[in-house]
Symmetry: C2
Subunit: 317 residues, 2 copies
Amino acid sequence: MTPSVPTLLVLDADPPPRLGRLTGRVRIVHTDAVGLAARLPAADVLLVWDFASHAVREAWPGEGPRPGWVHTASAGVDHLMCPELAASGTVVTNARGVFDAPVAEYVAALVLAIAKDLPRTLDLQRERTWRHREGRRVSGTRACVVGSGPIGRAIARTLKALGVTTALVGRVPRTGIHGPDDLDRLISRADWVIAAAPLTEQTYGMFDEHRFDVMQPSACFINVGRGGLVDEEALVRALDRRWIAAAALDVLATEPLPADSPLWEVPGLLVSPHMGGDTVGWRDELSTQFVALYERWAAGRSLLNVVDKKRGYVPGH
Amino acid sequence: MTPSVPTLLVLDADPPPRLGRLTGRVRIVHTDAVGLAARLPAADVLLVWDFASHAVREAWPGEGPRPGWVHTASAGVDHLMCPELAASGTVVTNARGVFDAPVAEYVAALVLAIAKDLPRTLDLQRERTWRHREGRRVSGTRACVVGSGPIGRAIARTLKALGVTTALVGRVPRTGIHGPDDLDRLISRADWVIAAAPLTEQTYGMFDEHRFDVMQPSACFINVGRGGLVDEEALVRALDRRWIAAAALDVLATEPLPADSPLWEVPGLLVSPHMGGDTVGWRDELSTQFVALYERWAAGRSLLNVVDKKRGYVPGH
């Protein structure tokens, strides 16, 4: 028997760059969401390059064999997980590491922009109006970062470098990381509350009316995790009632945010199009990371970045 | 002879806070620009609280005795220096230290906002448009900070904390600081060129057509020093011709910037109202600093933050 060339099924809109290194060693089949279900049974590996798609979650429960390995070019896996995939023997890996430093810089950009009142400065520039205001010092303020994975830890490191006293909250308390029992106490003291947790059954809607009520009127809330972490209506009410001072959402419950969403025009709310982790060269990095994992898989070595499918993220450090 | 109570003349629009500690120990006379010349001869000390005013430069050359000490609640002294004051025995002190960390944070805010394309994000939000873009990584970029005083050094420290390779340029080369001979070479490699120098005869108009020509097309120029450091027309042409990618001016040749200035609407140019160093509580800090200096002066001890009147700044570390 000649060993057959494995089939790599790629769910994509634009094809990934830099897969050339795999030429001759793998048969690459590209598919869109519509063609996914029909092609899944013949695939050995599924690369979820179009990480905004929910097609895997929908196509997975169908008939026939399933690939033994699914890799997603994203940190979160909520868009592809379903009970059938969780219960299967298929290994799921993610893009752990690629987004850490970029998201941390993005959070620093939002914190500093809000502290220095930059959005208002840009408004005043458009109005050709010179109006001096006082900014806030960032050094000496307190942040609570919710989510103790590599992204949350990178955010904490960057904020600490700016002189911000930063507490990390994770699912389980461990050295340097608070557990959920400390959450309300920490966010009640924080100047910056930053959501960077994976979206799981435990975290869905965790930033609700109660949480915004607990925060200080001067606090700012920033979400770079997943839109589903936040009760968006409760956030709008909290901003409206001045329970908190400002918010920035880089991730939203519905993406892309529809043009008729009221969220675009909430005073004190900055909306950005899920770009925090995406810096020039990121697609190359994601491809390079996948190729390295593929080479481990093809050599029969154990994979890295393996997601705990019950928990919905890569556990441990 | 009873020792007379010294007269403290305060040039202000809004009176400084926290001078209560001096009650009974000094006679405080407030003046505006118009009354300054008439009141100068009777003053022992002049506190230039209205640091945007050029009134001292105009009133100083008049008749009569002059105060032996002038303190300005600003880092720059260009607004008050004149040949007569420079040649006199009067000691000039400044607010060295108060603005260092705030200005450094402001520069970090501008660098990160530009790298993450935040101004465009705010434009798109106003248009209710979800358009994903790629940001730039700040870590790993290069900055050249021109001005090696405490503000320039604080900027360099903050940028380094964000992973930016940062070179400092000063008037004289010394350990860790480049001299003017290295300037063109350093700005030609920099992603961020940051002006934080005092305005002196040597620095006036130093950012001219030649300097912008030397910079990379991807470079961003930020001025938090003094407006006079920059040939603003050359900057506008450089942005227009894409010699550089973006610029941010927190200080301008004419302040407040008139509503009809073309600078408000130059694509790629962010204009802010000289607020980089001004954070909540800064007026208290400036007053507290002056009171501490006053107590040294009243006790006959040597003053701190003494400006080299020929050079136009406080020399040394």
